[in-house]
């Protein structure tokens, strides 16, 4: 082969290897037992490190662990709390997870969620007079569409302009928050509420209630349903398979004739729709209106959930419970041990680091895997 051809193929191989390395780590490590064991080990190590940290502060680690358990799963109230906190992050996790299938690292869940909430309120303002179930669906759909459009924009910028999606979605998070705050303090503000800047509320009829007998809203069920649907889509359809191919080896995907632009947009659209839906549900089921209370970091926590779940849709449910539980127990740590409220953030940070470090062992743990 000539020099330039050599050069070219060497470069292409390098590009493939780099794409491959990222998605290899993300995808293959999603395979079965090994993934679960690695994540579980990472959790154990993280809790151990946290225990050491806590002991150095003069507290009893075992007491702290049992307080964490009490606050997360110890009483029925705790469980309801955990489920309420888990519901939104189940959905926002997909804003990172689905684009990861096609080899993109998107961290725009926070922005998509914010605009999803705005979309829900706008739908409620415009589409009055519908029967309650149609109204709820309309609001949720509007929120999903806003979120989908937002992340699809990032995907389009990546595909057609080569703009790195991590940086662009990160910037877009801030822009979306600014849009939300601007709307909420001005154009769609409800001036009857003087205590804080809040939007016009969604009509009472369109509000999503609690699951009967529990204090948890129906949004949790929606989240679970979405997980199942996406699992089927990603693992058992041709589209899902095409996405994996694209994520695994871009060149192979091109040669197989896959429409990369369409797949990119689809992945981004689905991810953004999930996060937008989370925002819409927060509005329709919890707050009733949009305000800065929507910007509490569900999007960013979703990133953590996606990584801890090793980009496996079903695992997202389990992981969201763990993360939700830790968040739910945070208050108890403060009250019982006088720990600063940042204790749970610290724990989550340690967990995140351990999970990422454990990737180094992917493929090495069990001799059987190739």
């Amino acid at each position: 082969m000539s020099d330039t051809a050599n050069e070219e193929s060497r470069l292409t191989n390098k590009v493939d290897r780099r794409y491959g390395a990222l998605s290899e780590a993300l995808l293959r490590s999603g395979a079965g037992l090994e993934a679960f064991v690695l994540s579980a080990l990472a959790l154990v190590v993280a809790f151990a490190i946290f225990g050491v940290f806590v002991a150095v502060q003069g507290l009893d680690p075992l007491a702290v662990y049992s307080a964490l358990w009490l606050g997360a799963f110890g009483t029925s109230f705790s469980i309801e709390n955990t489920l309420t906190l888990a519901a939104p992050i189940i959905l926002t996790a997909f804003c990172t997870l689905i684009p990861a299938r096609v080899g993109m690292l998107v961290i725009g869940g926070e922005g998509a969620l914010a605009l999803g909430g705005v979309g829900a309120v706008l739908a409620g303002m415009v589409l009055t007079g519908l029967p309650w179930w149609l109204g709820v669906v309309a609001c949720c759909l509007a929120g999903s569409m806003f979120g989908a459009a937002w992340i699809m924009a990032a995907g389009a910028l990546k595909h057609w302009r080569g703009v790195n999606e991590t940086i662009s979605t990160l910037l877009m998070n801030y822009i979306a928050a600014a849009i939300l705050l601007h709307l909420v303090t001005g154009p769609i503000r409800d001036f009857d509420v003087s205590i804080k800047a809040q939007s016009v509320p969604v009509p009472e009829l369109y509000r999503l209630g609690d699951i009967p007998g529990w204090s948890v809203h129906w949004g949790l069920v929606v989240g679970v349903a979405v997980v199942c649907a996406l699992h089927i889509l990603l693992r058992h359809t041709v589209t899902g398979f095409s996405m994996s191919v694209l994520g695994g080896n871009r060149r192979a995907a091109q040669m197989a004739g896959l429409d990369i632009g369409r797949l990119t947009l689809l992945a981004c659209g689905l991810g953004g729709a999930a996060a937008g839906l989370a925002g819409a549900i927060e509005v329709v089921a919890v707050h009733g209106a949009v305000s800065e209370s929507l910007l509490v970091g569900f999007g960013y926590t979703g990133i953590l959930v996606a990584f801890l779940a090793r980009q496996n849709p079903l695992a997202v449910l389990l992981v969201a419970l763990v993360i939700g539980g830790i968040a739910a127990a945070g208050g108890l740590l403060q009250r019982r041990f006088d720990m600063p409220d940042a204790a749970t953030d610290l724990l989550l940070g340690i967990i995140f680091i351990c999970v990422l470090a454990s990737n180094a062992f992917a493929g090495r743990l069990f001799r059987r895997t190739a």
Binding site: A21, L22, W160, I179, L304, A342, L346, G349, F352, A360
Partner: protein
């Protein structure tokens, strides 16, 4: 409507003064990130490093009474976090962007956790250099009271640019970032180079954080940073990985950030949040403009995962 001594000139001066003041932390973090990215790694955890540096700086200044020791402590704290980033990323199959996010969460959590006791007290602040005493106007005097860190940062920018392209260390650093294979073929430990680069980057970011708590706004609390660390990553791309351009870019960003409050003091209050989003919009627009789907970003270190 504030009919001050200067009126709308006051806005301009506030923006300029703000540009200088607000740009300093951006500058230090951007310089640190430039070093890191030139060596082939992206560190998104700089926000955590910034906050941790701010806390460490304030705490040490409070405990020792010396703000400069505080600045040093901030730098050391940042070095620790930077080294952690590099060590984890040196493991195989670990994605540096994800690690950055993890360290953002960890660094911020650690800073808030350890910093709880330091919200209450006062610490010794860094002195400013009053360069505006020639003027009678309070506004000009205040705008021209500049922290020595600004000048140190400017000097660093020039110095780093020179070092990157004229010294052996600079060459090794750039090789790790442009062509790791070749570097390894020459017997270099690319991982070690990246460790030093990321740690140095953390050091500078920590100093940037110490500026926030020891000069402006000059206090430690949990609302101190609003994403400056993350913005710096965008800033580095904006500046095409050139330290001197980082200096100018951080002035632009500082001015854009100072625009919102300055306008509010002359009564322009609507659209306040959109003004605050100006730096992010500018960066995104610029990214879109300079990016090209077929080639890597011009000037980008070729090993960098985000530039393809």
């Amino acid at each position: 409507m504030m009919e001050g001594t200067l009126g709308s000139w006051g806005v301009l001066i506030a923006v300029l003064g703000g540009a200088v003041r607000v740009s300093t932390p951006y500058l230090f973090v951007a310089l640190g990130e430039t070093l890191t990215e030139r060596a082939g790694r992206v560190n998104l955890g700089l926000e955590g490093t910034l906050v941790l540096g701010a806390m460490a700086g304030f705490a040490v200044s409070f405990l020792t009474g010396s703000p400069w020791l505080g600045v040093l402590a901030g730098g050391i704290a940042g070095t620790g976090l930077g080294a952690l980033h590099a060590l984890i990323c040196n493991l195989p199959r670990v994605n540096d962007i994800a690690v950055g996010i993890a360290l953002f969460v960890f660094g911020t959590g650690l800073a808030f956790y350890l910093g709880k006791d330091y919200i209450h007290p006062r610490a010794e602040m860094l002195p400013g250099i009053p360069l505006g005493t020639w003027s009678d106007s309070l506004a000009i005097q205040s705008a021209l009271e500049i922290s020595p860190l600004f000048f140190i940062g400017a000097a660093l920018a020039v110095g780093l640019r020179w070092a990157l392209f004229n010294t052996r260390w600079g060459l090794l650093l750039r090789m790790a970032g442009d062509n790791a294979e070749a570097g390894r073929a020459l017997g270099l430990s690319v991982n070690r180079i990246r460790l030093f680069a990321t740690a140095a980057g953390g050091f500078l970011s920590g100093i940037g954080g110490a500026f926030l708590s020891l000069y402006y706004p000059g206090s430690w609390n949990e609302g101190l940073s609003s994403g400056q660390g993350l913005m710096a990553v965008a800033l580095v791309i904006f500046a095409r990985w050139d330290p001197v351009r980082c200096f100018w870019a951080s002035l632009v960003f500082g001015g854009a950030t100072a625009l919102g409050p300055a306008l509010q003091t002359v009564g322009i209050t609507s659209g306040y949040y959109l003004y605050n989003a100006a730096p992010y919009i500018i960066t995104l627009a610029l990214l879109v403009w300079v990016s090209n789907p077929r080639e890597a970003l011009q000037g980008a270190p070729r090993e960098l995962s985000i530039s393809r």
